[in-house]
Symmetry: C2
Subunit: 451 residues, 2 copies
């Protein structure tokens, strides 16, 4: 068989009448009378194989023992399917491969559940207990193809805008952004911590390259299990200096998100189809309203009075996205001017009303997609705030150093990759958007199982 060069399933429709060599995994097997049908999965997609004992008797005998997830190699002829049997849901649905020779490359254990259907229909713990298997399901693997597009688009947009990609450490000396929710590390004879974000480092780096971005691992030791938090996640971070107005930050965030949605729309139609969804077309400029205005709107719409609250809660976020969809055609809205007390110490207060900050969240599809702000770039003001927020300046050595030597007006934002992926595909739990999700109960295996 090895004389032929391997083809991918996706290329087969172009090869009708030709002999091909294919390799991949058996996705499903169906026996119809004396015929055996396999769906073969490879990195190109899925294609149907037919084994007919009248055409290849020994091959048929081999095929009798082949079960789902076996790795096989086949040689056969590409044939147009009889018109009644065309499968319009499958990109290769107009052809099938008449198998002449078959070889088992690797066997598979019997599957613990059926993997052949369009849906997996498993409870989350089962999905994750069997992660190395369930990731093979097309509707699961599709999630991370969309994720790849999102990351690629983020990078591409920022590179075009003259941003430099940087790599910053995840091991940090102190828990600078809130003590309780960090993971301590035994670092030689000392304690170090896992970074909650690349915040400090990306800010420092604006004094080197002005405009930087990083795709960072971030860690949150939240002692609760929710559908929207992970203990380790991918943070897409950007930061840039010499802004004339903090509104430029929102402009950049909007550009990134719009490009991301467009890219998914143009590259991932196959994946979107599996989820029976499409991406939102944002045709108008995303509205920008102050948090207090949002609270007023919510009060008027729902009679729920959150106007004295210092932040929006999930109910508010959902409601204001609903409002945005009705008024602007898509559930996306910038909420600005969060209270100074509720934002990190480095957030720039609004000079017109210093109880509020030049900060924003971009809410998308019912929750926070992007969070950002202009930062305080004056050394003395920053130092003052570190103390006011009850942090110790000596824990901010290298960070304060950057500001002591001249920092321009700057700001930036961050977005959680898994959350965007989840919302775009309408997944019910963020764990589905992480290849190997970490939470309080699980690092690959569930703790209740191993301890």
């Amino acid at each position: 068989m090895e004389q032929l060069k391997r083809s991918l399933s996706s290329g087969a429709p172009e090869l009708i009448g030709k002999e091909v060599l294919l390799k991949g995994w058996v996705k499903t097997r169906r026996d119809h009378g004396k015929l055996i049908f396999f769906d073969l999965r490879d990195r190109g997609g899925i294609v149907q194989l037919v084994v007919n004992p009248k055409i290849a008797e020994n091959t048929y005998k081999t095929a009798l023992d082949i079960k789902p997830e076996f790795v096989i190699e086949i040689m056969g002829n590409v044939k147009a399917r009889p018109s009644g049997t065309v499968n319009k849901d499958l990109p290769t649905g107009e052809i099938e491969i008449e198998v002449k020779d078959i070889k088992v490359i690797a066997k598979a254990n019997p599957l613990p559940f059926d993997m052949g259907g369009e849906e997996l229909n498993l409870e989350l713990p089962t999905l994750l207990d069997n992660r190395s298997l369930t990731l093979r399901h097309p509707k699961v693997s599709a999630i991370f193809k969309v994720q790849e597009t999102l990351v690629g688009s983020f990078r591409e947009t920022l590179k075009k805008e003259n941003f430099t990609e940087i790599f910053v450490p995840t091991l940090v000396p102190t828990a600078t952004e809130g003590g309780a929710e960090v993971f301590p590390v035994d670092y030689y004879n000392h304690k170090a911590y896992l970074a909650q974000s690349p915040q400090m480092y990306k800010q420092i780096m604006t004094s080197i390259y002005e405009r930087v971005f990083t795709i960072a691992h971030a860690y949150r030791a939240e002692p609760s299990v929710t559908t929207r938090h992970l203990s380790e996640y991918i943070s897409l971070d950007a930061e840039f200096g010499f802004i004339n107005s903090w509104k430029e930050l929102m402009d950049m965030a909007e550009k990134i998100v719009l490009n991301m949605l467009e890219e998914v729309n143009s590259k991932n139609q196959n994946e979107l189809r599996l989820f029976n969804t499409s991406v939102f077309q944002i045709k108008k400029k995303i509205p920008r309203i102050k948090m207090q205005e949002a609270q007023e709107i919510i009060f008027k719409r729902t009679k729920t009075d959150h106007r004295k609250e210092m932040d929006l809660d999930p109910f508010d976020e959902k409601e204001i996205c609903k409002w945005a969809k009705e008024e602007y055609g898509a559930p996306f809205v910038f909420i600005t001017h969060y209270p100074t007390k509720k934002r990190p110490f480095y957030t720039m207060p609004d000079s017109e009303n210093p109880d509020y900050t030049l900060s924003f969240d971009l809410l998308g599809i019912n929750e926070e997609w992007v969070t950002g702000s202009q930062r305080i770039n004056d050394y003395n003001r920053l130092m003052e705030n570190i103390v006011k927020w009850k942090n110790k300046p000596e824990n901010f050595g290298i960070y304060l150093q950057a500001f002591s030597y001249g920092m321009p007006p700057e700001g930036g934002f961050a977005m959680g990759l898994e959350r965007l992926t989840k919302d775009i595909l309408g997944l019910s739990n963020i764990r589905e958007a992480s290849l190997f999700p970490r939470d309080m109960e699980r690092v690959d295996e569930r703790y209740s199982q191993v301890s």
Copy 2:
């Protein structure tokens, strides 16, 4: 000033005769008689400013107080420099800006050392103690522009080859690749560890996408301080299935490295010039020799007999690179067939002589650049080796799961980003190639200072 749109220094030579607005940091200040010269640094590069009291008296008065690393904004006219004063080493060396107006955006503390020279000439501890400042030096920031090119090229090559980019966790349940050199993490009420590599996960993912790559943080708790190890580093990892021969792995590694060098050559001439270096042009196919052949060659050349050793040491690596340079024109060589005992449990033994493996290192410029191998893809053989290597199969749950459901022949390789950066630029210590290097003695600040 704000009516004008900001220009970058790099664009100024195109604007002779025009009025421009520039923003950036004062790199140097030189007073010549009544004239003040500044070198202004922005993300485009460096440009010379001249402040002449006869042209702008108040501006001159402001300029008198401006010191290195002040952030300033200036308005002025772009002028061709008098012919005798052209600076050929500077991309903007044919022009200067005659300043009409100047504004201080942020002041800077007095610098602890001169940052104006072409070289910094600092001891490593001083360089790193002042990292937020020293990164601003053009010869330091250049390092990470080269690094950005390397990563970009790695990604681009693999995307063209149909690889999928994945994100895998750094928090792992057990210390699977050697117990002593891992960092333990307090993970809720359990222990987790920082991954020494993304190895297990990238292997699993070949059963999903066949071809995957990841740019991962990797952690090594090596209890020693050398010039070539970091406690946290960036690992560029690729892995792919359905290989016909393990030699395809070397072909791919060679393609990646060649593209990387070419990209640096085409994108980073300015940076290379600062280091007075150029990248190696690899014109012949990189030689591939067995470890034992390398030992013979080294013995013949040096009379040092390492033929009974189970691995190459730094002396050997240097000598065999020297040999490759003499014989093939560049100090790059694949060393293959490392002893089975010296490689991880998952390495595929050579069926012709199972004491040696289908493994390779690509040595570049005197040390290991890439390390890789074909992996054992049969579940039973893998299980056997886990036990033989004195590991516990129960620590490999999700990994073994992938192999229990059918894995094709596969292999891959990894390369350390900081090491490549260091070697290409001829840096003397790998810490110089990490923005914020972590080692036994330092996480941003030196432990001897803070404890």
